[in-house]
């Protein structure tokens, strides 16, 4: 079965600093990868997705992620974070059964 591991449960960072949220998945065969953001008391919103093609994917709000097949990773990055980026971030992978597997989430906390 597919598994998704988000290596950090919480990432504190100061405003305007760069950030990387890590995600590893268990299989690189025909897998689609997603990052979602969840603001407090809201549902999930798609940040970006990798389906095929260029391994560097750009999303909304200045986020980007890089698909690394050899390391089975799909880390999320932003060069300069804002207070408003404080939220829960979920990595997800889809293959085969069409039921996405979600990581447990990473709480990004941006300090002023």
């Amino acid at each position: 079965a597919q598994s998704v591991t988000q290596l950090d449960s919480q990432v504190p960072v100061f405003e305007e600093a760069p950030v990387e949220l890590r995600c590893n998945y268990s299989s690189s065969v025909s897998v689609y990868l997603f990052w979602y953001v969840q603001y407090p008391n809201q549902g999930l919103q798609l940040l970006l997705k990798y389906l095929s093609g260029s391994t560097l994917v750009k999303g909304i709000n200045g986020f980007e992620a890089e698909f690394n097949k050899s390391q089975t990773s799909f880390h999320l990055r932003k060069p300069s974070v804002h207070i408003s980026d404080t939220a829960e971030y979920f990595c997800a992978a889809v293959r085969g059964s069409y039921i996405p597997t979600f990581g447990r989430g990473t709480s990004l906390i941006v300090h002023p």
């Binding site: 549902g43 979920f90 069409y98 996405p100 989430g105």
Partner: protein, 117 residues
């Protein structure tokens, strides 16, 4: 285009009662997924409905059930509520399944916060 909608926003029940949660998918989407998001546990897959049929089920007891209506909206029923059922229940929808394609992308609703006292 209207997004996925869920009702109610909040629901308070007592132990042993039944809860019914509702979801309306995006127009044109035939698949509906239900997830439970309990504190600190991430998203746990509950149920997947497609074209009115239950296609897959997560590791939850039978008192979690649901259905999908001809208009593709869906209900999640939780019987004999327990305290640990308190969670945010998220519904998502996607287009018709057609192999591994962009149709698999899920769009989420805002959730129903269920509190069991």
């Amino acid at each position: 285009e209207a997004g996925v909608t869920q009702s109610p926003t909040h629901l308070i029940k007592t132990r042993g009662q039944q809860a019914t949660l509702r979801c309306s998918p995006i127009s044109g989407h035939t698949s509906v997924y239900w997830y439970q998001q309990a504190l600190g546990l991430g998203l746990q897959f509950l149920l997947w409905y497609d074209e009115g049929e239950e296609r897959n089920r997560g590791n939850f007891p039978p008192r979690f059930s649901g259905r999908q209506f001809p208009n593709y909206s869906s209900e999640l029923n939780v019987n004999a509520l327990e305290l640990e059922d308190s969670a945010l229940y998220l519904c998502a929808s996607s287009k018709v399944r057609s192999g591994l394609s962009t149709d698999n992308e899920q769009f989420f609703g805002p959730g129903t916060r269920l509190t069991v006292l």
